[in-house]
């Protein structure tokens, strides 16, 4: 039977995608007898050919430029879940088209401004030297074990590691730097460096590029009998009764408070890498902790304060101001309840406003405990901020801080979607803590309490996946089957089907 004009129209549209032999025959037969369709087919074909002549590919240089610019902008603040990796900061020039900045000029600038950076001894404690790789210094190659002059410019011919002052620096091949030992400053003119600063030396370290600098700081914190407040850097508070060890960070979580308990002040404890907190009455003056946490001291301590790793400012503070806030991607591998504050929206990526990323995801953590400010206020925007803050804490592995933030939301009036998100985040806290049984129970509770929200689907799948990876196979099969039955068109159907098949093939009981 010959297709009608409407059917032929549909087939003609699909011509570019390829028709089956039977369909092609039908189309050709119809065109043979229908002038209108023949003309339409011809015109579409010509228009398609014309459109394809238009340039649709960028030249390699433009493409590379677009990718690099996107990475510069999009990776502006990249949180790392690994605490150890947080101590390592690599800095590279951004969008720098002319790398031939005079290293000597940069060094001169470092020296000229050096007085403002001096916080410690001028002489390096250890000789600067090449640990591995090869550097060109003054036209001569220096390799493993070779010493480096206290002030010099050099280039890495391949990936290399060097000690510079109290830092170990890894340079990628082609990196060009200038080093001033007296100022503890490294000027980067090309390439990438990964800098690991020894915090025990209590000395500053700067990395300078033409557009910004990174200043590694000491730690500044105030301690009273009942509280610790970090003004710069990070510390860990241990030994508080009924409270697990906590990390205080100057930008996100700077304060720790205990209920007031009068106790006599104790004499100071010896200095060292760890510092003991004071229990003096009233507020103690802030003390400069040069990486070793020199707070006031007391003998018997309910509180111990330790400075952590490399005390440094948050990366965001050294970046040039940008019109768009950077997102705080969640590093957890578990499915999230939502990607925007509105939980009822589908989890599809959306664009706009321009360059600002997904709506609602760029809520950066405000200073301190955002949830604390919500008590009794019920502010929608503040709730969103607190949830985002908890999410960011979780992404960075700071479970205690995330839990505290979420606990603060219990007194706040939240929408159902926000309650679902809160419950999902609490379940994720269990995951990050390794308590998979509790996580599974919590996720299942979310799926039962909020059956009509998208969070329910995500939570049910999360519970199923936990069972598949950490629980008995029978339970995993049951949960995966339940997921597929309840969400036949869900976002995780493919993975659920794959996992269920794998369980069946493995024959596990």
């Amino acid at each position: 039977m010959k297709p009608t004009c409407l059917q032929a129209e549909s087939l003609l549209q699909r011509r570019a995608a390829g028709l089956s032999a039977a369909e092609s025959l039908r189309v050709e037969a119809h065109l043979a007898g229908c002038t209108a369709c023949r003309e339409t087919a011809s015109m579409l074909s010509e228009l398609r050919a014309l459109h394809l002549t238009g340039q649709s590919q960028l030249d390699p240089g433009s493409r590379q430029r677009a990718i690099q610019a996107a990475l510069d902008e999009g990776c502006a603040s990249v949180p790392v879940a690994d605490r150890e990796a947080e101590r390592r900061v690599a800095v590279a020039p951004a969008g720098w088209r002319s790398p031939r900045l005079g290293v000597v000029m940069t060094l001169a600038a470092c020296v000229a401004l050096g007085g403002t950076w001096l916080l410690a001894r001028r002489e390096p404690e250890r000789a600067d030297r090449v640990l591995s790789g090869e550097l060109i210094v003054g036209g001569a190659a220096r390799t493993d074990g070779a010493s480096l002059p206290p002030s010099a410019a050099f280039e890495a011919t391949r990936e290399s590691r060097v000690t510079l002052g109290h830092a170990t620096v890894q340079l990628s091949g082609g990196t060009r730097v200038g080093w001033s030992a007296a100022d503890h400053a490294l000027a980067l003119s090309e390439g990438t460096v990964l800098v690991d600063v020894d915090a025990t030396k209590h000395q500053p370290f700067d990395v300078i590029t033409p557009r910004f600098r990174v200043h590694v700081l000491g730690t500044l914190f105030r301690v009273t009998l009942d509280s610790v407040e970090v003004l710069r850097g990070r510390v860990r508070v241990e030994g508080a009764p009924g409270t697990p060890p906590q990390v205080l960070d100057a930008t996100q979580h700077p304060r720790f408070d205990l209920p007031p308990q009068p106790k006599p002040p104790e004499p100071g404890a010896p200095h060292g890498t760890d510092a003991d907190a004071s229990r003096s009455h009233g507020s103690a003056p802030a003390r400069e902790g040069r990486g070793a946490g020199e707070g006031e001291h007391s003998a018997e301590q309910a509180l111990q304060v330790k400075t952590l790793g490399v005390a440094r400012e948050r990366p965001a503070r050294v970046q040039a101001p940008q019109p768009s806030a950077a997102a705080a991607p969640n590093a957890t591998r578990w499915p999230r309840g939502r990607v925007s504050p509105s939980s009822d929206e589908k989890d599809t990526p959306r664009v706009g406003p321009e360059r600002e990323g997904l709506a609602g995801r760029n809520v950066r953590s405000s200073r301190g405990d955002a949830a604390a400010s919500l008590r009794g206020e019920g502010d929608e925007a503040a709730a969103v901020s607190a949830l985002a803050d908890a999410r960011a804490q979780l992404a960075a592995g700071r479970v205690a801080e995330a839990r505290r933030g979420l606990a603060g939301l219990r007194a706040v009036k939240l929408s159902q979607a926000q309650r679902a998100e809160m419950a999902s985040l609490e379940a994720e806290c269990h995951v990050v803590s390794g308590n998979y049984a509790a996580a599974q129970r919590a996720f299942l509770a979310v799926s039962e309490r909020f059956p009509r929200l998208s969070a329910a689907e995500t939570a049910l799948f999360a519970a199923a996946r936990i069972a598949a990876e950490h629980g008995p196979a029978s339970e995993a099969r049951a949960l995966l089957t339940r997921y597929l039955a309840r969400h036949p068109k869900g976002s995780f159907v493919a993975e659920a089907t794959k996992r269920l098949r794998a369980l069946s093939e493995s024959g596990s009981p």
């Binding site: 023949r38 459109h51 649709s56 990249v78 951004a94 969008g95 970046q319 760029n362």
Partner: protein, 200 residues
């Protein structure tokens, strides 16, 4: 603006690992994924946005949006399809802005001079420019659906997935876009000759 990066680490072979690293914001992984899919994205952006917008700028915007959306990517679609969806949204969003700012309506676009010396190269460029004008006049949604399905040859369900529309809506858009485009093309002296010449 500064950026924080890690030095290259051994790249795991599996795509799942690569995607996981992208979700964590690993620059190396993102660079690798973007390089692999950039040519396809450029084609999609060109098809959807035409010559109204700069493809390099669109590509950059698309990739920035992808970096920020990666943590939410669950692997329910292929990375390429997921990126293409972002690209389509980016292009449509910008086209809408351009349309609002457009000062010269299509109908007022200058008509070609009939006594101009014919040069095949110039004629080709002019015809292409006219075609792009007519495609722009369809509106971002119909243009995207029509171009991706009829010109690019993507199946309707894939076009629906890329544009975030339902299958019925996509079919409808393609149908009406085709009708409107052909109506405009038949009235355009530069383009109507294209089909007339071939029929003879």
């Amino acid at each position: 603006m500064g950026r924080l990066v890690k030095l290259p680490q051994p790249v795991p072979a599996s795509e799942d690992d690569l995607v996981e690293r992208c979700r964590r914001g690993d620059r190396q992984a993102l660079d690798q994924v973007f390089r692999a899919h950039a040519p396809y994205l450029e084609r999609v952006l060109h098809r959807v946005a035409g010559r109204s917008l700069d493809v390099e700028d669109l590509l950059q915007s698309t990739l920035v949006a992808a970096i920020q959306a990666f943590p939410g990517f669950r692997g329910e679609a292929q990375v390429r399809t997921w990126l293409a969806r972002i690209a389509v949204h980016t292009a449509q969003d910008k086209l809408r802005r351009v349309a609002r700012q457009r000062q010269l309506p299509l109908e007022a676009a200058p008509e070609p001079h009939v006594n101009e010396t014919a040069d095949s190269g110039i004629d080709e460029r002019r015809r292409l420019a006219r075609l792009e004008l007519h495609l722009d006049a369809l509106g971002p949604k119909k243009r995207a659906a029509f171009v991706l399905h009829v010109f690019e040859g993507l199946p309707l369900d894939e076009v629906a997935a890329l544009t975030g529309a339902g299958l019925s809506a996509t079919k409808s858009r393609v149908f009406w876009a085709r009708r409107e485009l052909l109506r405009r093309v038949r009235k355009d002296p530069w383009l109507s000759e294209l089909a007339a010449g071939r029929l003879r």
